[in-house]
């Protein structure tokens, strides 16, 4: 009898989750369409539809196809990638405040990018980088992210205290900023401007080749994440217990670090350091689905992250005005309240995550 009611109870919650996923899907779809329809150039919805149906004038078609749709796709991909990488980092570090930007992973990626933009490219023109440079840029970014990831891991194996790890992460970030400043000091004006604009974060400046590289990389990262789902669940218990239930911890770390570095690195390479989404979204997903199971959290984080990034993009375009805000600032303003709320709610962040 008990077992029977249990199964019914479980079925209900499964349905409930399915309902929530359905709702999220619809929400993200609406946001995606809104993101295409709203922008700094005021285009009437009817005209957008016209452009989509391929019969309007060339100017509008250009804006919609060459600019708005790629940008909306970028926003979606960026949101998914950053949130997934944040989720995995929080699990593997068992740290509620872990995220690509907090522990210096994004900084590491920026260092890679800075080397490419400021260092090597001083010998070639900007258009030159754009040709061969897309993959070089991403690879440098992955390497930068990966190195910091490994450093943080070594630190967190020696120090168990979350706060210490966070502080050391901040130190690392500062150190990297210092190196980047030195690079900036020695680079020429055009390169400097290119780099500074990059640091503000942008979803709209991607060429179609760049978008392609981004999508392929993020797709690879998503595949790796799906592959890690069982390992991530085991790691919730901590590495000792994970090993005791049969997890090869080194292998798991390697796969998860690769996935995280690819996800955070690719986004940072093309769109600049985009903050706070990576920390905030996993918490929203946990709270909304009341689960710690990565089989639920991974898709949940993808929907919520994609949706939140679309919202940030819509806000950054300041619909109705000609101005555009740096998207980086918008995600910070959206994400920081969530993070503050999490800290206040947990009181002691070193406790449960």
């Amino acid at each position: 009898m008990i077992e029977e009611t249990e199964i019914i109870g479980k079925g209900l919650t499964d349905n409930h989750k399915l309902l929530k996923f359905g709702g999220l899907f619809i929400l993200v779809a609406i946001l995606f369409i809104l993101d295409i329809f709203l922008g700094s150039v005021n285009i009437k919805p009817a005209e957008v539809i016209h452009a989509l149906l391929n019969s309007a004038d060339k100017g509008l078609e250009l804006i919609v196809y060459k600019f708005r749709i790629p940008k909306a796709i970028t926003a979606l991909v960026v949101g998914i990638a950053l949130s997934l990488s944040g989720l995995q980092m929080q699990t593997i570090f068992r740290n509620p405040m872990a995220g690509p930007d907090v522990l210096g992973i994004s900084s590491g990626a920026s260092l890679g990018v800075a080397f490419v933009i400021l260092g090597f490219s001083s010998h070639m023109s900007l258009s030159g980088i754009q040709g061969f440079g897309n993959w070089a840029l991403v690879a440098a970014s992955w390497a930068g992210a990966g190195i910091i990831m490994v450093l943080i891991m070594i630190i967190s194996m020696r120090v168990n205290d979350i706060m210490t790890v966070l502080i050391l992460g901040i130190m690392l970030s500062s150190g990297i900023s210092a190196i980047v400043s030195i690079l900036q000091y020695f680079s020429n004006e055009t390169m400097l401007k290119a780099y500074v604009i990059w640091t503000m974060g942008s979803l709209g400046n991607l060429t179609s080749q760049q978008l392609e590289v981004l999508m392929i990389s993020v797709f690879a990262g998503i595949i790796l994440t799906f592959f890690s789902v069982k390992m991530l669940n085991a790691l919730l218990l901590g590495e000792n217990y994970a090993a005791s239930i049969g997890l090869n911890v080194r292998f798991a770390r390697f796969v998860i670090f690769s996935g995280t570095s690819i996800l955070a690195g690719s986004v940072t390479a093309f769109c600049g350091p985009i903050g706070f989404l990576g920390i905030a979204v996993p918490h929203l997903a946990r709270i909304y689905f009341r689960s710690s199971d990565h089989r639920i959290l991974i898709p949940a984080v993808m929907f919520i992250g994609g949706g939140l990034m679309l919202i940030s993009d819509i806000i950054s375009q300041l619909p109705g005005s000609d101005n555009v805000l740096p998207v980086n600032s918008v995600t910070s303003l959206v994400g920081i309240p969530v993070v503050i709320w999490i800290i206040l709610r947990n009181r002691k962040i070193s406790g449960y995550f």
Binding site: V229, L247, S291, Y352
Partner: protein, 336 residues
């Protein structure tokens, strides 16, 4: 004979820490055996190496030397997953995850038996339900582990390790954070698992009373010695005396209890019977006097009269009556 159902054994095992070429062996070579269905208590002072031994025989830490056999196959020959199917492990580390239910936690015990995504078959679910029931956590299935008390969380951990379905369970101080009631519930559960399910349970504990009354075998770890045997054997061999050789605690070889070593400031003769006499002697010991059968400076007559307990003290020609042991002890202390 003994090898018939031996599940785990180690020979000249050296445990300790190593990194690169640097090695630190913390104990002399150890030899021990675990028979199927045995409840083994690992006893020793803090920091002597109990956890290291348990981690080493669980395969979570590499031995520095010697041989460990699990089901007469060398331990290092097992893959991580095979180990997890044979050995369940609980450490003192607390699992702190919000939004994880008891059911989620116990389901993770099926990790070594499920496919790459961790899908649970009906058989897995049956085992999980049974494990939860066995650990007495049925009422808590959908409760978050962050909301559980220490005792409940520990039982959930036991349920998880049961779901792992291993013949050998290794637990590092499973009763460390628990209040007395939860402690005995856990010990009782371990006892049941070894008796009814034939599980071999190896657990470390600080509670010698528990170790001596419940376990089939004790592994006593001292800085330079390792004893293996039934609790009573260790008492007869005087092993426990060594555990306390340089501390204030004294092990009483007669009744298996512990007393503080106190300075003896005099002898007392007690005349009386039954419970009252026993507890009076204890109180006298506590006050720093030894109990003697011969004539002493102080003599105490213990008796009940008209429903009252009376202690009549005769010392150096003076005589006093007490109606509470408390007052008697105070008087003894002041006369010391």
């Amino acid at each position: 004979m003994q090898h018939k159902s031996e599940i785990l054994s180690f020979e000249s095992l050296l445990i300790g820490f190593s990194s690169g070429r640097w090695k630190k062996v913390i104990l002399p070579p150890l030899n021990g055996h675990a028979i199927k269905g045995e409840l083994i208590a690992v006893v020793g002072q803090n920091g002597v190496g109990k956890s290291t031994l348990l981690r080493t025989i669980s395969g979570l830490q590499k031995p520095i030397g010697g041989k460990i056999l699990l089901n007469s196959k060398i331990l290092s020959g097992y893959s991580r997953n095979e180990l997890a199917q044979n050995i369940g492990y609980i450490s003192t580390e607390q699992v702190k995850v919000s939004n994880m239910t008891v059911n989620d936690l116990v389901s993770l015990g099926r990790f070594p038996h499920t496919n790459w995504i961790g899908k649970l078959t009906p058989e897995d679910i049956a085992i999980i339900t049974d494990s939860i029931k066995k650990a007495g956590m049925t009422d808590f299935v959908s409760r978050n582990i962050s909301e559980l008390s220490d005792g409940e969380r520990q039982r959930a951990m036991v349920a998880r390790v049961l779901a792992q379905d291993t013949d050998l369970l290794i637990m590092d101080e499973p009763t460390a954070f628990l209040d007395i009631k939860s402690k005995y519930e856990i010990i009782h559960l371990l006892h049941e698992l070894s008796r009814e399910r034939g599980k071999t349970v190896i657990f470390s504990t600080h509670d010698l009373n528990v170790a001596m009354s419940e376990s089939d075998k004790i592994w006593l770890i001292l800085e330079n010695l390792f004893f293996e045997g039934a609790p009573e054997d260790l008492i007869l061999e005087g092993a426990f005396d060594k555990l306390f050789s340089n501390s204030l605690v004294k092990f009483n070889n007669k009744d298996g209890n512990f007393t503080f070593r106190t300075l003896i400031s005099g002898k007392v003769k007690v005349n009386g019977q039954g419970n009252m006499r026993i507890w009076t002697e204890k109180a006298i010991n506590r006050a720093g006097f030894s109990v003697s059968g011969q004539y002493s400076d102080i003599e105490i007559d213990v008796f009940s009269y008209a429903g009252k307990n009376i202690w009549k003290v005769t010392a150096r020609n003076t005589s006093k009556e007490f109606y509470k042991l408390y007052d008697l002890v105070n008087w003894l202390v002041s006369s010391r």
